[in-house]
């Protein structure tokens, strides 16, 4: 089994704050992490390798400092890591990113055929969920998104059965390798690596591929030039002109406040009174 896992280094968006006075993003001290969704993909790939043997290759497209994410992936047990970095790639949207990644995976596959490609279901900084499907389309891989569980996998028959999350239930899908899987969150837990993997990762040389090495033959399809979408503006939401109407609380007991609140609610939404009473009766 040769599994390629695509990861992305992202800012830990939970740590991003907007300055209340200046309304600007405060980027200081926002650490970069492996996109949390990608860790579910990585763990699933590592578990399959542990079970069936083979190799896990981790790739990422990003600036040179993204090698930290790859080193971390190696410490979790990935066998090989390749950083795709080139000025041509800068400013890529999801369409352009899937072009670069799929070119690189095709190149990797020339050395050792790729059986499966894993990605997270989406990134936390873009949330577009298009890169995985994009790679599948470009490489002609069978596409399995939002996978909750791999139910069966037979590498010799090249057959796979998965549970795929759908609205209101789970689809049981069967398909053939090679395939692309985007893993749903919460499906597994990334392992706590052994000391030998920590040493291996600390000493590893991370391979770095530019556009040429990654097999990107049409520079116009990556980077800003190959990105149909353009971010026109980034802004903090403007406060509504009319602020909330205060319900007087000073010197009032909680009971008085509650009754005043209910009065204004029912005044604003008279239908609620009977609807709520009806629901109480029904329930």
């Amino acid at each position: 089994m040769h599994i390629v896992v695509c990861i992305k280094q992202v800012p830990d968006s939970a740590q991003i704050r907007i300055h209340p006075v200046t309304n600007t993003i405060m980027r200081q001290g926002v650490p970069t992490i492996i996109n949390p969704f990608d860790l579910f993909a990585l763990e699933e790939a590592l578990a399959l390798r542990d079970r069936f043997g083979g190799t896990v290759t981790v790739i990422t497209m990003g600036p040179p400092m993204a090698d930290a994410a790859l080193r971390k992936a190696l410490s979790f047990g990935a066998d090989r890591a390749i950083l795709l970095t080139d000025r041509l790639f800068a400013g890529s949207d999801t369409l352009a990113t899937s072009y670069v990644l799929s070119s690189a995976i095709a190149r990797i596959g020339q050395e050792t055929p790729v059986d499966m490609v894993f990605t997270g279901k989406q990134t936390i900084d873009g949330d577009t969920a298009q890169v995985g499907p994009g790679i599948a389309v470009r490489l002609g891989l069978n596409q399995l998104t939002y996978v909750e569980r791999i139910v069966e996998l037979d590498p010799s028959l090249r057959r796979i059965v998965v549970h795929r999350r759908a609205e209101g239930g789970v689809q049981v899908l069967e398909t053939r390798l090679p395939c692309l899987i985007t893993m749903l969150e919460g499906t597994n837990h990334i392992r706590f690596a052994g000391m030998d993997d920590m040493f291996r990762a600390a000493r590893a040389e991370i391979a770095t591929w530019g556009a040429a090495e990654a097999g990107v033959d049409e520079p116009g399809r990556c980077g800003l030039r190959g990105s149909p979408t353009v971010v026109k503006k980034v802004f903090a939401p403007t406060p509504r002109t009319e602020k909330a109407t205060p319900i007087e609380t000073s010197g009032k007991s909680p009971q008085e406040i509650a009754d005043a609140a209910i009065d204004v609610i029912f005044a604003a939404k008279p239908s609620l009174r009977s609807e709520m009473a009806g629901r109480r009766q029904a329930g």
Binding site: D12, A14, Q15, G29, V30, P31, F192
Partner: protein, 98 residues
Amino acid sequence: MMINSVKVEEKLFQNRYVVDEGRPHISISEPLKASPALRTLVDICPAGCWSVQPDGQLSGTLDGCFECGTCRIVAKAVGQEIQWAYPRGGYGILYKFG
């Protein structure tokens, strides 16, 4: 000066933690009746991790822990032991500024 006790949870929300779920790094081996001396932990823990349960037992919610060691030192000083270790590598509080 009058000041209401601030909600420490709101302060902790500014911080970055990677919680090692299911592996608390601080524990109390046997049910520990919160003696008056130990009850001080409820107040002096800078992350507000400790509370006293209705049955009088001391209980810790360690998600916001700073790994500072205050509770271990104070408990030891009054002759009681708290099993206190650092979280596994990479887990726990991760300071952005420190």
